[in-house]
């Protein structure tokens, strides 16, 4: 079974709409990372969260780590075509030296 579950697996939204992607772990997270991947390309670092309750924002993207440090959400406000891609959450689960990834969420933004 997957240690990190992401939902939804795919998402199609109309430009201008808001959306949320979730990342859930059955174990305590030492650190939670969000990456974006354009189709066929490498990973772009978005944000890192460590403390329960922590929230970070960059442009129109906000990520939160819940108090119990077992779930994170990524929220995009007023989506744009440039937001399209695959969003991956990664976490230090067992130790703080190995990153485990979720299966990813494929986002399409329609005009």
């Amino acid at each position: 079974s997957q240690e990190l579950e992401q939902s939804p697996q795919s998402l199609i939204v109309q430009e201008g709409k808001n959306l949320t992607i979730n990342c859930t772990s059955s174990k305590t997270l030492y650190g939670l990372y969000w990456y974006k991947q354009k189709y066929g390309e490498g990973l772009i670092f978005l944000m890192m969260l460590q403390k329960g309750g922590e929230e970070k924002s960059h442009e129109k993207i906000t990520a939160k780590l819940d108090e119990k440090k077992q779930q994170s959400s990524l929220h995009i406000t007023a989506s744009q075509p440039s937001h399209a891609g695959i969003y991956l959450c990664g976490a230090d689960i067992r130790t703080a030296s190995k990153l485990t990834f979720g299966t990813g969420t494929r986002l399409q933004v329609t005009l």
Binding site: G31, E41, G42, F45, M48, S97, K98, L99, T103, G104
Partner: protein
């Protein structure tokens, strides 16, 4: 700074051939990692290293070998390529502590 550099970007191998995927970083990071990403899937850890001379297995190490003779380089070796090794391979590095991982741009490998 170049960051994490992977070569080659693309490669087609025949079954049974061998090759080395190169990864080098110029950030003096202690930790380095190799991941593979299969179509429609997340990344799976193959091998990792916490410093020169130290390597350890990840989730999917079978069919691969690594070495870490210097801080900068972390090559991944495929000895007998199999179709199941068709994937995109990513190398990553980071400093010890609470720092983000830096990824290379990937190597797309096809085994036919």
């Amino acid at each position: 700074n170049a960051g994490v550099t992977q070569t080659p970007k693309f490669r087609i191998l025949k079954i049974g051939q061998s090759m080395t995927l190169q990864c080098t970083q110029d950030m003096n990071h202690n930790y380095m990692y190799w991941y593979r990403q299969d179509p429609g899937m997340g990344l799976k850890l193959i091998y990792y290293s916490v410093g020169a001379g130290i390597t350890d297995k990840g989730e999917v190490p079978n069919g691969y070998n690594v070495s870490r003779s210097t801080t900068e380089d972390f090559p991944l070796r495929l000895e007998l390529a199999a179709p199941s090794q068709t994937s995109v391979y990513f190398c990553a590095s980071r400093r010890p502590g609470n720092y983000g991982y830096t990824f290379g741009s990937g190597t797309r490998l096809t085994v036919v």
